[in-house]
Symmetry: C3
């Protein structure tokens, strides 16, 4: 599929969107009155309706009860709250599962799930497709011209519950997908190397999904099945989207991604062109700085899909979730800092799951904007405070985040390839590596776009390639060109190891980048748990090392302990007008800081403002003004140099602004 | 079902019952001779026969071979050993499983178990029910009037192997159960909040058991399925019981519970009224004081079903079991201390699984009264010694344990509710909390009844409510009344959170007790692993904290570290003639000791005797005398003040008795 | 089955075999040219072909394409490289699985595996058997007289992927096997003690494999199913072998074992007589000395099948594998030390999996003789160096390893019995015990044969019996005789506990050896995790202890802490001309060293040469000369006293040879 041209559709709210998922069907009508009133108090201007409503408006096949939805749409319209209306396919009604249990997903061990979950459907099942499109058409026909409607929200967190389905319908669909990809079975045999173990297919119809076969699956098959699972979900999305676009051509259509460290079930970078507004659900993980960086990384990755364009934070949590082993509550101020961190990095919204905390159902302990305890609560006070802040900075909407000059390259396909089959180190958390490089730069307030190989790299000065396990020839060429034209690249171990068929690039690692880097790595030396290795410049590494030799690269550091003692560990090579670094080991954080100091040296990269530790600063730039976001994550007040207007307080800042611990500021710069 | 009136049936032995499970069918007849002789040597007066004998007396369908059982019954009668005859339904014969594999339980992932285990049947299966009642009738008809027979033992550890069955027969039975509970599907939809995720049922026949649906199940559904599973087993029990009562109306009928910390598969508190004698199987866990308290807690819970009435210890182990990861052997004296601890707390028996250790079968390494190595063993010597001790204290039988003035409220339904679905803290071992409160009181020899919400609370001065997650309105009212009438209640976090449908009580935690306690908890702050929080009175807590405010309660302690610093942590409110405490955090043991010291202050609670550390003292009170049980769990001899007759040695104790380390004494007080 | 007479067939290569698995079908023909050339460079003289080739030469049922295999056979012949041709049954072709999925193995929970793995067949399935023998016949007919062919290699690592199958065909086969073993169902009932839980079988056809029944299986059933699974695989092997022997009576037939610490899926000791050359695949585990001993143990066990005869190392790895959590690479020199360690202990080969590292397929990260990076690599240099070394010592081929005077008794059946069902200590790694005793002797360079109960014990002076959980009466008699005739036996706890039906031998532990040892152990006292116990001679133990009394044995040491304080812990009894020791606890390594010092005292056992720590020395003895292998595993150079010719360097050694750290020497002694 060729990605379509983006459609020029307006942002669904006037300025920053504020609100969240709203599920009035869980509550009696008297609660609705309070809801609308409190939404007004908080400044809510946008809600998502209908996500899980199918079984509520079609309780039996063909029997519709839209009265309640009509009423709530009208009430919201009257209250001037825009509606993001969801197609209800995230949750098929019970009657459909009872009548057609064959639409439920099947695991790799052959177990078919039962009713009662979420996304209980196989994207390849034609019966499901028929029911799904029918209900989408019904909803679109009924509400397409409702004055409250601002945007369509297709299903919900696609791939969240129906990650991969191994049923016979999926097998059939997978084979069609393979035929389109490979043309014939011989090409598929070559791609997957099925001569290994003599698993050559004589006909395409002999292929099955990688169901449990007692050993690990063929890496090529496993990777392609991940691609297929993503594409099958995309195909479903497009089918719903087409129905909506046909009926309401002027309304934007989105679906909520779950972009985080990755790899994701769905290849969001390849999916993003198909939504009118990219939207994300983000539930911050960890505590303290780890958590704040988790927010920043996800936001930088969302922005990376289309640097310069605003995106939508579709869901986050007012406080705790319920699905982690221990669900930490937000500390005071954290709700606001989280929201502003997303806005600073390009989100023109702060939306929550959900408006009012449920008392029943699986998510009864998921926090809401309005908690179980009601309005006399910290959460509610902060929600209202946030509403006020967003109104104060409303002019920020539509501005672009200041252009990043650094990019980190990540790729869901590469992550799938790493996860497909047995590896030299089966406990190595490769996706975490991008987080560690990002963390060092985030701590320095050096803005980074987290981008995919589909991205035009020209705009960057520094490109970090952390464990990009799979690299196509095109990607390798693009990076080569980036360097030759003056860019600086830092490539780590476990990059470029396999080609798009998940076949090892022979001749020495890191295959795709070997020539560019001027090194040959001949053998992996994974470190055992608890082991570390020293470099001769004082750096240390754990987890991974390699037997490396230089083939034209300058040696920055050598191993100085262990069996690799004396061999190169980190190299640098000038190529064209740029230079390419290779890092063969998993550096510990202190060493990584020194590496990145060396790697950025001379590039003239500066943070938007000098800030003390634990203070995050990001700039957004509009057509007429720029805005400095300052988030004090620390426990002491912090002072930064800036001139402008404090949009939250209204004061004129004449050179120096002090932000109390835990607080935020947005300064319109003069 | 309304619980029946208790039947006034005699205790099956003259005095304390001593013996255990006897499985002669595993041994040749020459061993039987030795068995009977050695039972005489040890003083055995009661054995349980026939538990797993079905396949042995009905080797093919309809072919009976009762000769061996006739013979052993006669021999036991001749030896004046009473028989507790079991219906053999704990183990269907192989031929029944081969002919009707559909009676075997099905897991939540859809796997049907195979033959060869225990309790391999679904309580909802009508074919199984027919076969089960037929064999019960056959056994009852044959042995109902045998002179050795003293009691019926229905099946064995019901719920032990057939915890929950998810088969279609169970689904059908579950729907009938739901119809009886809710009347119609709309009430069920309201109860479970099925509007969430749009999982509304149009007809009752759309409901399925909570089979694996990839996400957590609806909390209301999951809780009701736990109730149903318990009731289905109870229904089976009652069906067997009715057959027995019809044929032998004068014989007591019991079944062996597995009461421990809970929650149990079966709601024993609701089941207890249906057995003529409550009986327990208890396999002490842990070592040292942990283990001794484990015994005490289970015994206090058994007694709590019917304070004042004797109960039966139906099984415990002479030494190690075989089903734990590492199976610790009893230390010298422990077998006797365990037995006496049970008797002290109300058991009029000490029965073992089993008489003679098996050499084959799954339990070949479960210890027996007569070990593999025979009679020249520590175990056998202690068994014989125990027999002697029980004869010496035989007059204790029928006396009541001194009335406890403290109760700890626990509830299997509440435990199920906590386990049903996702929670703010999914690693929090809520049932353990009751054990920690009990431990502090046990160490002080302050007797506690561990009771359910069905219990009349009037008899107590202090009521501890440790994490009673679910509380009905009736329970909340009863506790309110208890306090107003002068009782003192200590309620902890995670009490009263949900109503009987497992729906959160909105308006602030702890919903059901908020008004009584005069507090509002607005948000949970689970502590991460390894974290702790300080209180301003020096106490510390781990695992759990809350953002609490007082609404009329006096503040006993505030948080003094972490994000809740300054907020109330422990409160106390005078209500009517009593007072109600709230403890919002999981206190560490030292802090808990101080809390309970404060909570009991002024109530005049005293142990039966002053005793050094590690010495357990309990009093039983008969119509003409009282008996002080003293168990020295320590490693040094201990002296306590008491006057009376040492029933074990026969000596007159004139004020002071010294008990060697590891030994026990029973003093008839003067 | 009675084991056949060994066939007198020549070793397939002239001298030591060097090479590995060769899978040319994974590569284009231009690579073949390089392969043959590089094999010549390295000195390869033997390759295994065809292991996974079925799907490659029979891409559709009945359509054969043998051209590529013809060609490679011819090329190898031309290059004077012998071929070990494999029957291709380790990997059924995809078309066979698609047509007959019923041949795939079924797990104990009833899940049938899918295509795509290895050994995807049930050994009891008659359809599979038919297809398998047909293809064997086809291959044998085509290549039986090819001049390159030296040996047949039946299938691959039988039992590796198809460990146990629980399908209906296996059930049927199992019942036939049981009928042959027991004659009638009553004998089976007696053997398994099915009176327990009333699981008596009325007919043999009621027996099922030990499919998941929620509890542990009957120990007798579980043990017999392990025996059956081994025998079913052996039966399959014999069926293939018979086809081959009929067509090519003069070619040796083998299959590659996976002998390690055990127990194995297949009882190799009982299988070994059926192969013409015993062959092993060994992938060393751990690092440092642990790893070196792992090699030595496996090699000593291989030699133990037929002490004095050479065996074949069929597979090991040039460096890392890919299937462990973290796959350590070989350190420099390790590849050579490993190979020489195997040769020193009796292997007349060093063969690798595989020649050229795959770039695709499941094992794409399994190291090869020729790595991904090609010939400019450490691995390739060491492979070539090894080829040179093996040529230099070629005269060693055919010589015998110097006769060991110590044996350690291990038994797969005993291991299966220990693993079947619940035990006093369910976390105790009993097979590891043999490794710990072996380690102490290995560190002293005292050669040990690791043997099974089928071995003639006469040749040994010291016999160690480490946790031989199951012992038949015949084994007990043989050991008794061994001692009475002057041998010394060291028997540990958990030996002789059960008989061949997995029934506990009553009367006191260790049942089978109680009389010989003059002790009675009345009760097991497993130690809890982290606990240890002291002995009065300063030794310490963890994991296991017992309540022991002497019945005629001298007490070597008593417990001096814990509940067993004062009881015997280690005993010794003179019996006939020998003596028998009993060790009732799991001694820590220091204590074990002292125990074994005492146990070998007076036996006059000496290492082949005095060597410093970390230097392994082994002697092979030929008809005209002896050869001293010296492996320096340490980090410093080591000097040993020896006279002879250094076969690697050619120098005359006049009394003293210094071996650099990590290096090896083979000295032809004068």
């Amino acid at each position: 599929m060729t990605a379509p041209e983006p459609r020029a559709l307006p942002w669904p709210t006037a300025g920053i969107a504020f609100g969240g998922d709203y599920n009035p069907e869980q509550w009696p009508r008297e609660v609705w009155d309070e809801d609308i009133r409190l939404m007004g108090d908080a400044g809510v201007n946008f809600v998502t309706l209908g996500v899980f409503s199918w079984g509520n408006f079609e309780p039996r096949e063909g029997e519709f009860d839209f009265g309640w939805l009509d009423e709530i749409m009208d009430r919201l319209d009257a209250a001037k709250i825009g509606v993001d209306l969801s197609t209800p396919t995230a949750s098929p009604p019970i009657w459909l599962h009872r009548e057609h249990p064959e639409i439920l997903p099947v695991t790799r061990t052959g177990q078919r799930y039962s009713q009662g979950g979420r996304l209980g459907w196989c994207a390849s099942n034609p019966i499901w497709r028929r029911y799904a499109l029918r209900v989408v058409e019904t909803v679109a026909a009924r509400y397409g011209s409702h004055p409250a409607l601002r945007m369509w929200h297709v299903s919900n967190e696609l791939g969240g519950g129906n990650r991969k389905c191994y049923c016979d319908a999926s097998a059939e669909h997978f084979r069609r997908w393979l035929l389109a990809r490979y043309g014939d079975v011989q090409s598929l045999n070559d791609a997957w190397g099925t001569a290994f173990w003599g698993h050559r297919y004589a006909d395409m119809d002999q292929v099955l999904p990688p169901r449990d076969c007692e050993t690990a699956p063929n890496p090529g098959l496993a990777l392609d099945f991940s691609r297929f699972a993503s594409d099958a979900l995309l195909e479903h999305f497009l089918a719903e989207r087409d129905v909506l676009v046909a009926l309401t051509p002027d309304l934007p259509v989105t679906t909520n991604f779950m972009v985080s460290t990755g790899p994701h079930v769905v290849d969001y970078a390849r999916w993003a062109p198909y939504v009118d507004i990219t939207a994300n659900d983000h539930y911050a993980a960890g505590a303290g700085a780890v958590r704040a960086q988790d927010v920043a990384f996800a936001a930088d990755r969302m922005r990376g899909f289309n640097p310069g364009a605003p995106w939508m934070l579709m869901e986050h949590a007012a406080s705790a979730v319920e699905w982690r082993p221990r669900n930490r509550a937000n500390e005071p101020g954290e709700l606001i800092r989280d929201s502003l961190a997303h806005v600073a990095r390009g989100a023109d919204s702060s939306l929550f799951f959900q408006w009012r905390a449920s008392t029943a159902g699986v998510e009864q302990f998921h926090s809401g904007m309005l908690p179980h305890a009601g309005t006399r609560t910290r959460i509610w006070r902060e929600v209202c405070q946030l509403g006020g802040i967003l109104r104060s900075i409303n002019e920020v909407a539509g501005s672009a985040v200041e252009a990043a000059r650094i990019a980190i390259l990540v790729d869901d396909e590469a992550g799938w390839a790493w996860n497909a089959g047995q590896k030299p180190h089966n406990e190595l958390p490769l996706p975490q590596l991008a987080r560690e490089y990002h963390q060092v730069l985030w701590e320095r307030n050096l803005l980074v776009d987290v981008v995919s190989p589909l991205t035009n790299l020209r705009r960057y000065d520094l490109l970090i390639i952390p464990g990009l396990y799979l690299a196509s020839n095109a990607t390798a060429r693009a990076i080569d060109l980036f360097v030759r034209q003056g860019g600086r690249a830092v490539v780590t171990f476990l990059s470029g190891i396999v080609d798009p068929t998940n076949r090892v690039r022979a001749g020495g690692y890191p295959g795709a980048f070997r020539d560019l880097l001027g090194v040959v790595s001949e053998e992996f030396y994974p470190l055992l748990a608890g082991d570390s290795v020293a470099l001769d410049n004082g750096w240390t590494a754990t987890t991974w090392s390699e037997l490396l030799s230089s083939d034209g690269a300058e040696i920055v550091a050598r191993y100085s302990s262990g069996p690799l003692s004396g061999s190169p560990a980190v190299t640098r090579r000038k190529v064209g007008r740029g230079e390419a670094w290779y890092v063969s080991a998993w550096l510990e954080q202190n060493s990584l800081e020194q590496l990145l100091s060396a790697a950025v040296a001379g590039l003239g990269l500066q943070p938007p403002a000098q800030a003390p530790q634990d203070v995050e600063v990001v700039r957004r730039v509009g057509p007429t003004a720029s805005y400095l976001f300052v988030l004090n994550h620390g426990v002491e007040s912090a002072t930064i140099k800036v001139r402008g207007v404090d949009l939250l307080g209204g004061a004129l800042i004449d050179g120096s602004l002090t932000i109390p611990a835990g607080m935020v500021a947005v300064v319109k710069e003069l």
